[in-house]
């Protein structure tokens, strides 16, 4: 009985949905709220920034003359722009490698531990929860402080951890690794836990050693996760700003200033918003290029086994 009643009732919404399909079939209606925000806060500022980079506009919005590519020409001839770009690249290389390798090592360690796993998991991940200001102050005053800091006292040295141009970048990298390795660690740990146990059992039966299992089962099974982590890490490292700005301000002798800080310095303390926009766009292009290269590499890798 009920079926005869419900049949037309269900039919009505179906036809209504069909009528509206042309409008919703791409899901436009569903993503509209996101699109509005995306356009207002990303696409529009992006275009605005591009326009600004072609003018000599200052922080007060005045002096808004069109100067063509003069800002870009100046940036490409600016040794400090190149120096800060190099610092960003250097930081990215120096930090990405330990962050990925150490993240994996810690995950393997915790995965194989049989007691108090929650404690290790928590202690490796906890620093990631701290805000950049807390991390920076902690390391500046507790650890790197030259006269009463932990590091110089423990090692009996007299190193200016943040004051020596040859050491400062390494100190920043060390802090960053401590701070953010927990995220990669967690991704790796999750991936490790999802590797089917029967693979290891089968390998054991075949007489594989622990090293063989790691090399032939664990690492290949983690390949996709590694790819993801490397992408995320490269992008995060290229965007480095907070901890360097807070700990060294780009010094000593510009040895740690990343390109984002250079854009900030020229824009917000040098008041040249036009030039700062041009510098930002140079970084933007660099990030786009790296992302495209990575995407291509991944596609190849994923296609190759087939």
């Amino acid at each position: 009985m009920t079926t005869t009643v419900t049949a037309p009732a269900t039919a009505a919404p179906v036809t209504a949905a069909r009528a509206g399909r042309s409008w919703t079939q791409h899901g436009l209606l569903f993503v509209a709220p996101f699109l509005v925000v995306y356009v207002a806060f990303l696409v529009w500022p992006l275009l605005l920034g591009l326009r600004m980079s072609l003018t000599s506009v200052n922080i007060a919005g005045s002096n808004d003359r069109f100067v063509g590519f003069a800002n870009y020409a100046q940036a490409f001839g600016d040794p400090r722009m190149w120096n800060s770009l190099w610092n960003t690249v250097r930081f990215t290389v120096l930090s990405t490698i330990p962050l990925v390798v150490l993240g994996l090592a810690l995950a393997l360690l915790v995965h194989n531990l049989r007691f108090m796993r929650w404690l290790w998991r928590l202690s490796f991940f906890a620093p990631f929860l701290l805000p950049s200001a807390v991390v920076s102050l902690l390391w500046m005053y507790m650890i790197y402080q030259p006269s009463f800091g932990l590091l110089n006292n423990a090692l009996g040295t007299d190193v200016l951890w943040l004051g020596d141009p040859g050491v400062a970048m390494w100190s920043i990298v060390l802090t960053t690794v401590w701070w953010t390795v927990g995220f990669n660690f967690l991704l790796y740990l999750a991936a490790l836990q999802s590797i089917p146990e029967h693979l290891y059992e089968a390998a054991s039966i075949d007489g594989a050693s622990a090293w063989d299992k790691l090399r032939s089962i664990t690492l290949p099974m983690l390949r996709r996760t590694t790819g993801l982590i490397v992408v995320l890490q490269l992008l995060a490292s290229l965007k480095v700003f907070d901890q360097i700005y807070l700990m060294t301000g780009g010094g000593p002798d510009d040895s740690t200033r990343p390109i984002i800080e250079y854009a900030y310095d020229t824009g917000f303390t040098g008041y040249r918003i036009g030039y700062a926009s041009a510098v930002s766009y140079i970084l933007f292009v660099l990030i786009v290029v790296i992302s495209l290269v990575q995407l291509r590499l991944f596609r190849k890798r994923e296609e190759s086994p087939r």
Partner: protein, 446 residues
């Protein structure tokens, strides 16, 4: 605090050391709740006096409020240095800025007077009893850009020499009156420092901020020493570099000698240098005059003297605090009146301000008996005629690029990682770069 290095990172130095106490005391001043719906006229005042001189400023604002119950001054203490000037620039450009703000005189040319700042209303100034002839003439003159007054001078804060009277007494450096025996030239100063070093058991007797985030201490010391021998940085119109290499190197070599001989501690940043002097680890501190209250509150045995004369002259690096009126689109005439009443009250009471260590720019205050009775604040007042102000260019002034570039270049000379020649070359490169950088606020009618 005043001219501590322009630290982009902030919280740190101030809050942790010098500022922690002061900020606590300032609690009420930092964020007076906005008094909306009240019939009182509200004057919004921004400043960056966050340490021991901030306590004094807070007291002065409180005193003004007590005398003027119809007015309400909203005091907003912001972080000293580059971020402060960024905030002023952005507030002024939007036209919704505070009614009055404290500023550094040498920053005036770089901030786009007429765009970010509005001219001072001379009528209201006179109405409140402030006359041009009451201000120190060179400072009053520097407050004008192209003949228009953009700032009301408040004080000058020169580089001074703080000394620990106990240690200096032990080293035999004090005269019969208990005051530091003045030194002349390099040899006398080095001899005095060596004696103090012995009295301290071989520890460096002199401290100043020699390194750290955006350090400007090395610039301040160099800009005190180098002009003593008659050296200049730029031509009058700011278009030519006029650095006399021989004289500049003489000053830099002397600074290197201090580091090399262990006469000056080369591992201290700003707060650490103040803390080292305060805890009696060092006999001398070279710094601006604004830490006076810090050491007074610490009840330590100290006094102050003029920065030593080393290369002939008596000059010392200085900048001045002034009041400016950031640009507003629609200025309420009633608030404007109240603003000038407030400025006039602070300026006329600048003998109270001198307690913080600064030398008033308002001449009548210099004659006031309560100022002359201030000890040690009146010990160095004679320096006011021999201050080495910054060149009048857009990239100069407290926490400016000029200071940070030179501070960084000379920091490594003191520590020995650069030779004086290399340090000077780096500084000159930076100066050339600054001069070729287009002024973000070129002169243009609004």
């Amino acid at each position: 605090m005043d001219d501590i290095p322009p630290t982009p990172s902030p919280i740190s130095r101030r809050n942790l050391l010098g500022g922690a106490l002061a900020l606590g005391l300032l609690g009420s001043g930092c964020s007076i709740p906005v008094d909306l719906g009240s019939s009182r006229t509200r004057v919004k005042y921004w400043h960056f006096l966050g340490a021991s001189d901030g306590v004094i400023m807070n007291g002065m604002v409180g005193a003004f409020a007590g005398e003027n119950p119809d007015l309400f001054v909203e005091e907003n203490v912001l972080q000293w240095g580059e971020p402060y000037y960024t905030k002023i620039a952005m507030a002024g450009s939007g036209g919704r800025s505070p009614d009055v703000a404290t500023f550094h005189l040498a920053r005036l040319p770089g901030i786009g007077p007429g765009q970010i700042l509005d001219p001072i209303n001379l009528g209201l100034l006179a109405e409140n009893g402030l006359r041009p002839e009451d201000f120190s003439p060179p400072i009053w003159e520097r407050a004008h850009i192209d003949g228009v007054l953009y700032a009301v001078p408040f004080d000058a804060h020169p580089m001074v020499q703080y000394y620990n009277t106990d240690i200096c007494g032990k080293a035999g450096l004090l005269g019969d009156d208990g005051k530091l025996l003045p030194t002349r030239g390099t040899d006398e100063l080095l001899t005095a420092l060596r004696k103090a070093k012995d009295a301290l058991g071989g520890k460096p007797p002199l401290v100043f901020d020699t390194l750290g985030l955006g350090t400007v201490g090395p610039w301040r010391v160099w800009w005190s020493l180098y002009p003593q021998s008659g050296g200049t940085l730029l031509s009058e119109d700011g278009t030519q570099i006029t650095i006399d290499d021989a004289k500049a190197l003489e000053a830099l070599t002397f600074m290197r000698t201090l580091g090399e001989e262990g006469l000056c501690n080369t591992t201290l940043d700003y707060p650490a240098s103040v803390a080292a002097f305060q805890s009696g680890i060092a006999a001398f501190l070279w710094n601006g005059d604004w830490e006076t209250t810090t050491f007074k509150l610490a009840e330590m045995p100290f006094s102050m003297a003029r920065f030593p004369s080393v290369f002939g002259g008596d000059s010392a690096q200085a900048d001045c605090h002034v009041f400016v009126v950031p640009h507003q689109r629609d200025r309420d005439p009633e608030v404007e009146r109240a603003t000038y009443r407030f400025i006039a009250s602070l300026v006329k009471n600048s003998a109270d301000w001198a307690v913080a260590g600064h030398v008033p720019a308002y001449l009548p205050a210099l004659e006031r008996p309560e100022y002359l009775a201030l000890n040690p604040q009146s010990e160095y007042r004679s320096v006011i005629t021999e201050v080495a102000l910054d060149p009048q260019v857009w990239f100069a002034g407290s926490a400016s690029r000029l200071w940070i570039e030179f501070g960084g270049a000379f920091s490594s000379v003191i520590s020995g990682t650069r030779t004086p020649e290399q340090g000077l070359a780096v500084a000159k490169d930076a100066l050339r770069r600054l001069m070729t950088t287009p002024n973000p606020f070129p002169e243009e009618p609004r």
